[in-house]
């Protein structure tokens, strides 16, 4: 009896350990592959010069600038609307079938495949509103994709603020808006920021939504204009690894691009982690 128990416990424990190791193993392999093959081409020149000669030479400055601008535009569009929407839903809206329906729809939207957002962006921004394939159209499309995440994480951050804090502000004569602005938002800021940064890091790595809304195959100059096409890191990577005519020649550049993209996303996640850590310290 005791033996059987021991054996079962070893099997249970072993299964869990095996699953964990397997997952970590693949993660490490991916990271190792990209780092070892990508680091060879990484240099200051690689990240600071324009792509040349049909992308077989030169650096990736254009896609870097494109991705940064795209993410900024996404943030500019998604953060104010998303945060305001979450504040309304969480603090003002009464609990009715309508708000429950809206909330459920927002949750569902965050599960919609990103290519659908791409198609929607193409129909609405590129064709409907005549923005053409441009940085603006792509930024708005990514903004739409980010909205459900920002709304959901902001709502959760607001929900974590105990009602006693709201009552405290009301009891000293604050209006509802003052209570939210002065007490609720500052206390939930770290939670909101964490959600925002994670969402943006996800958006920065998206390919499908920008595929037909503004990303370009090859531009050998950087432009800061919002009504022109742009290059973006994830799309550049996709091009280099599957669409380029001399795939073998550009493979090192593809790995270099992948490494840069991973580093960018890593730093964004690190920012979120630091914000959360600071918040916990502050709480103590």
């Amino acid at each position: 009896m005791q033996l059987r128990k021991n054996v079962t416990s070893v099997i249970e424990w072993g299964t869990l350990l095996l699953s964990t190791s397997l997952v970590c193993f693949f993660l490490l392999v991916i990271l190792y592959e990209i780092c070892s093959k990508g680091s060879a081409v990484i240099s200051w020149e690689f990240v600071s010069s324009l792509p040349k000669e049909g992308m077989t030479r030169g650096g990736i400055l254009t896609p870097i600038v494109g991705t940064v601008l795209l993410t900024l535009l996404t943030a500019l569009f998604a953060i104010p609307f998303g945060v305001c929407c979450a504040i309304y839903l969480q603090e003002y809206a009464k609990s009715s079938w309508l708000t429950r329906l809206i909330r459920a729809s927002i949750r569902n939207l965050s599960g919609v495949p990103s290519i659908i957002y791409g198609l929607f962006g193409l129909a609405l921004f590129v064709q409907g509103l005549q923005f053409g394939t441009s940085l603006l159209a792509a930024g708005l499309t990514l903004g739409l994709l980010s909205l459900p995440y920002i709304i959901t994480t902001t709502e959760e951050a607001l929900l974590r603020i105990p009602n006693s804090m709201r009552e405290a502000a009301l009891a000293v004569g604050a209006t509802k808006f003052e209570t939210i602005k002065d007490i609720v938002l500052p206390s939930s800021m770290s939670g909101i920021l964490t959600g925002v940064v994670l969402t943006l890091s996800r958006a920065a790595g998206e390919t499908a939504p920008i595929l037909f809304t503004g990303a370009a195959f090859y531009i050998n100059q950087t432009s800061l204009s919002v009504n022109q096409e742009f290059m973006a890191l994830p799309y550049h990577l996709y091009m280099l690894s599957t669409q380029h005519q001399s795939i073998d020649e550009v493979r090192p550049i593809a790995y270099g691009t992948a490494l840069v993209l991973i580093v960018v996303v890593f730093f964004l996640n690190l920012t979120a982690f630091i914000i959360r850590y600071k918040y916990r310290q502050h709480d103590k």
């Binding site: 009464k94 006693s164 009552e167 009891a171 000293v172 004569g173 604050a174 002065d182």
Partner: protein
């Protein structure tokens, strides 16, 4: 004895549930009135209706007349923020803002466009018997104070607004005996300047601080009278049973 607050024919429902039934009481100026009764009798509901704290709960339905110096508390001509400035509140669990000690006092003053100088802050903290303990560290986050200090800070924040009435919802229930004693001394000191209504579960506390006591049971006022009379000579059998600890 002039009455500061008066409650007439007050009924409160939460959804289908009737929480308060036809309450008629008044609270005398510069006196401490204690609300006692078993859990769920509606004493906190009554207290919170006095400064419109139920405005936050959409399913609360309030019927009846509540007045402060004759002014309708739920009247259209006076904004709820003004009512809450005149009728301050201290909660069961100390809830200082996540700001410094200093800013905890000035916040209410700032949003109400009242002067918020260092003198005003000092006066409020002195009034709450907290000044000596924090005077060298006013920039410290309020959350670092002890539980009792936090509660006195909440009282200081309330008195800084120079309210006319202070409502206290079991202010000592989360505190140790020494902090409790300090708050009770403070209440006795404050009643010269403010009208105080306190909800308490602690019979000894009611006897120590209150001039008048109201006993509530199942949403109704069962008995009210001077604290001495109510505790030594209760008229109602329920009151007698409750204060002697047979239920509650």
């Amino acid at each position: 004895m002039t009455s500061k607050l008066s409650v007439e024919n007050l009924h409160i429902n939460f959804g289908q549930k009737e929480v308060l039934k036809n309450i008629n009481v008044s609270f005398a100026e510069h006196q401490v009135t204690a609300l006692i009764g078993p859990s769920g009798c509606g004493k906190s509901t009554l207290l919170r209706s006095l400064n419109r704290m139920h405005d936050l709960s959409p399913d609360a339905k309030i019927m009846g007349k509540l007045r402060i110096d004759g002014t309708d508390i739920y009247g259209k001509d006076i904004p709820p923020t003004k009512i809450r400035q005149r009728i301050g509140m201290v909660f069961q669990k100390a809830n200082p803002f996540a700001k410094s000690v200093y800013d905890n006092i000035t916040y209410g003053l700032k949003i109400n466009n009242l002067p918020h100088t260092k003198d005003v802050v000092e006066k409020a903290l002195r009034e709450a018997f907290l000044w000596e303990e924090v005077k060298n560290d006013l920039k410290m986050p309020a959350t670092r104070l002890s539980g009792g200090q936090q509660q006195r800070l909440c009282i200081a924040r309330t008195v800084a607004l120079r309210p006319e009435v202070i409502l206290m919802d079991e202010p000592c229930s989360a505190l140790d005996p020494i902090s409790t004693l300090k708050i009770e001394e403070l209440i006795t000191d404050l009643k010269d300047r403010y009208t105080i209504v306190i909800v308490t579960h602690n019979m000894q506390q009611a006897q120590r601080v209150a001039d008048k006591t109201i006993f509530m049971y199942l949403g109704e006022v069962k008995e009210e009278g001077s604290t001495q009379q109510l505790f030594n000579n209760p008229k109602h059998e329920l009151t007698a049973n409750y204060i002697s600890g047979h239920f509650g």
